[in-house]
């Protein structure tokens, strides 16, 4: 277990996965960490479709630092750093989809069974899997409460004919927020995985490969 810096679990997760693809690599963040401080890493990890799973505990607030607004706070959310109300929030689902993520799901901490299943599917999926987890912060977020969510979330699985491989349909679902909030697998597609196109990994994990200085001999000749 590697507890990394705020905003930075994704890059070390990528490094570890490439060093040893036999490892199951799961990165865990909060919403500020993933969509604020780590926003750039999030976009590019999705774009390159690295084979890691990203669990984001999204409570729409910065809890540990005691209640400031986060990138996903609803419009108008009043906090000490947003006395006039938070502005337009990041939409992590649509952001993940357009960035190129191959598995984009949203879960709810109030439905652990459903969430567990999503996490399992994300882990077994080959490619970048985002599970944005709606997880109320009972201390600092009095707007997006368990009650608030229960009134709004609905499962995509119970919607007939929803095709999660249809990007346009997925983007439409991604934009649904407010009165109705879809949870489940919003987008899923088998796409080229970054690690698959690294010839070095075809021989096995980097970590178990031999270190042999003599292998550089042929390179020296190129400079003579």
């Amino acid at each position: 277990m590697f507890n990394s810096l705020h905003g930075r679990p994704v890059p070390p997760a990528i490094g570890a996965k490439i060093a040893n693809p036999a490892l199951v690599v799961i990165a865990v963040s909060g919403d500020g960490d993933a969509y604020g401080e780590g926003g750039n890493h999030f976009i590019h990890a999705a774009r390159r479709n690295h084979d890691i799973t990203y669990l984001v505990h999204n409570n729409q607030v910065y809890g540990l630092t005691k209640g400031q607004a986060s990138p996903t706070s609803d419009v108008g959310f009043i906090t000490k750093t947003t006395p006039y109300g938070a502005t337009n929030p990041v939409n992590p689902i649509s952001l993940a989809i357009v960035s190129g993520a191959s598995f984009v799901a949203r879960g709810f901490a109030g439905d652990v069974e459903h969430l567990s299943d999503l996490i399992k599917k994300g882990i077994t999926h080959r490619g970048f899997a985002l599970i944005d987890i709606l997880q109320p912060c009972i201390i600092f977020n009095h707007k997006n409460t368990f009650q608030w969510y229960r009134e709004r979330v609905y499962k995509l699985e119970s919607e007939n004919g929803y095709d999660s491989s249809d990007k346009k349909a997925a983007l439409e679902k991604a934009l649904e927020w407010g009165e109705k909030i879809p949870i489940g697998i919003i987008y899923r597609k088998e796409l080229p995985v970054y690690e698959d196109q690294l010839p070095a990994l075809h021989k096995g994990p980097l970590v178990t490969q031999e270190i042999a200085p003599k292998r550089a001999e042929s390179l020296l000749a190129e400079f003579m």
């Binding site: 590697f2 070390p12 570890a16 750039n40 200085p213």
Partner: protein
């Protein structure tokens, strides 16, 4: 008479200055000569003024020098900017059909480069090679060697054939038309040496040491390292990830290293600024890491394609809090290979970040080097966890030990659970705020530095053991100071050199001893404030007599250093003085005038 012959190729960006310079260097290296070749170019893709110097000698060379014997001027600016640098008997090859009314400098030798290219080789695009052939004729060099080099460079085929025809045309023309004295530079041996620059040496050192993972973001002058690693990734079974930014670059390398692979990243000062946060992550999680900082003039964007030694104090202190690191600054191309290969051992043995400081001058200058003896590259992975020595269920990543080094288990390769944290942690690696645990971990980490200190060698010395004056330098100034000592000793000066390539842990005793022996000591640095001088003061308590500083983005030359030392020698007192070279010795001040201002 020892051979010390200087070529220069000048032109606009995009004209092929670097290619011509490289081919010249290669041709003479093949003839057994020692080479030192640097690149001076602007931060632009077209236009401006670029030049490359190729210094050819029959003994090892470690620096460039001012005077030019043959200048291949691919445009007018090159003539106007460099004609006062020509040595006696020097020749300026230029295309008189394109550059007219250039004055009557005795060095000028006009060759119809484009006409010959079109007539003899079918295309004016090879006019540079016409000049190349002509230059070789003026020194009576073996043209077959150049032809071989051209075939290797372009690959067998029409392009190589066209270039060979062009080179022949230039050679014949010069032989027939040149009225001046022909120097004779014949091949001197068939010894096969490598011709490479600092970036290439570092890449080779990393590969030889078993570096299997590199993540980086392009930044001059370090980008060629990531490009070389990418080019060799399939053949050598390694991975190079072009990260989205330098923050990702260092963090990816840390993740790969945590998972058990030798990993590195490379950047320049501004990129290292972004990596500073990650540096501390490596420090507190005790994750081995090698970071190359190719210095260039700062702060901020500074001079992107030029050289400086301005990051020393920065990398020594970067990040908040106290934790151990190593800082090494190779002296030359050969040193860069060995320092890099050894850096991975240090990183893994002591489980800390190792920063290698190079600079644009070292990164991009070519030198001839005897082929590296790969049998001398040792691999030491340090204290690795083994289930034979320890129960996996009892494994603690940050176990407190006498040396401060904890056995390192690699995640997933055994039943040991490997936990670490960027927060302060206990021996198991779990977050803790306990005062006692905190104290133990801080002390443990710092203790590792005492072990690392045993590995530091004494700084290099050159010249007599005891001398009146000692010149002190670090990193890429090695060659220039070395040669300056030769120049001054020939004049009867009592002088030697102390040169540091290991900066942290600092060899305080050796430096203090050297300072107590010499009457005068001058630190020679490519920065504005004398960063090594400050380090010497903090670590030994001693002041140096003076500082010779250059921070115009250009490297020192031996003559410049020698002149500065002569000036220092006549003044009294301990005043710090900036070095102003005398104009009849050095044309340095002319080098950075913008072409427009010449008219």
């Amino acid at each position: 008479m020892p051979v010390d012959f200087n070529f220069m190729v000048g032109g606009e960006a995009g004209q092929g200055v670097q290619s011509v310079g490289f081919l010249l260097a290669k041709a003479f290296a093949r003839g057994g000569y020692h080479i030192f070749s640097d690149q001076d170019y602007e931060s632009r893709i077209r236009g401006g003024h670029n030049f490359s110097r190729v210094r050819v000698g029959d003994d090892r060379i470690g620096a460039i020098t001012e005077s030019v014997d043959i200048l291949i001027a691919l445009n007018r600016d090159s003539i106007e900017l460099h004609q006062t640098e020509m040595a006696d008997g020097g020749v300026i090859i230029f295309n008189g059909e394109k550059v007219k009314d250039i004055g009557s400098n005795g060095s000028l030798f006009s060759i119809p480069l484009e006409r010959l290219a079109r007539e003899k080789a079918g295309d004016k695009v090879v006019s540079n090679t016409v000049a190349l052939g002509a230059a070789l004729a003026l020194v009576d060099y073996d043209r077959e060697i150049l032809n071989t080099v051209l075939i290797e460079y372009f690959g067998r085929g029409k392009i190589a054939d066209g270039n060979i025809a062009a080179a022949d045309a230039g050679y014949e023309y010069a032989k027939a038309e040149y009225r001046g004295e022909i120097r004779h530079l014949k091949p001197i041996s068939t010894i096969k040496r490598m011709l490479l620059n600092g970036n290439e040496a570092i890449s080779l050192g990393a590969i030889a040491a078993g570096c299997k993972f590199m993540s980086a973001y392009p930044m001059t002058p370090a980008s060629p390292i990531m490009e070389y690693m990418a080019a060799k990734s399939e053949a050598l079974d390694l991975v190079m990830v072009h990260a989205e930014d330098e923050i990702a670059a260092i963090n990816m390398a840390i993740g790969a290293s945590y998972a058990g692979v030798r990993a590195m990243t490379a950047t320049s000062g501004s990129g290292f600024c972004l990596m500073v946060e990650g540096l501390g992550l490596a420090g507190i999680t005790e994750t081995p890491l090698v970071i190359i900082d190719g210095q260039r003039p700062g702060p901020a964007v500074g001079l992107p394609t030029r050289t400086e030694q301005g990051d020393l104090q920065f990398v020594l202190h970067a990040h908040h809090g106290d934790f151990p690191r190593a800082v090494i600054a190779p002296a030359d191309v050969e040193d860069a290979f060995w320092v890099t290969a050894r850096a991975f051992n240090w990183a893994e043995k002591y489980q800390l970040p190792v920063i290698i400081l190079t600079d644009h001058h070292l990164a991009t200058s070519y030198a001839t080097v005897e082929p590296f003896d790969l049998g001398q590259v040792t691999i030491d992975r340090g204290l690795l966890f083994s289930s034979r020595d320890e129960e996996p269920s009892e494994y603690m990543r940050h176990r407190v030990t006498e040396s401060g080094i904890s056995p390192r288990a690699l995640p997933g390769l055994s039943k040991a659970l490997v936990v670490t944290d960027c927060d302060e942690h206990n021996e198991e690696g779990h977050l803790t705020e306990d005062a006692g645990e905190r104290t133990l971990q801080v002390q443990k980490r710092l203790r590792k530095l005492s072990s690392l200190k045993q590995e530091i060698s004494t700084p290099r010395q050159y010249g007599p053991q005891k001398a009146e004056t000692t010149l002190i330098g670090w990193g890429s100034t090695y060659g220039a100071i070395h040669e300056a000592v030769d120049i001054l000793r020939k004049e009867g000066a009592s002088i030697n050199m102390l040169h540091l390539s290991e900066l942290w842990p600092f060899p305080a005793e050796a430096v203090a001893d050297a300072l107590s022996i010499a009457r005068n000591s001058y630190v020679i640095e490519n920065n504005a404030t004398g960063q090594l001088a400050r380090l010497i003061k903090t670590e030994t308590g001693k002041d140096v007599s003076g500082k010779i500083l250059k921070f115009d983005g250009r490297p020192f030359t031996p003559a410049h250093i020698a002149e500065a030392v002569r000036k220092e020698a006549v003044k009294d007192g301990d005043n710090v003085r900036l070095c102003r070279p005398s104009t009849d010795v050095v044309s340095g001040l002319r080098q950075f005038r913008h072409p427009e201002s010449v008219k």
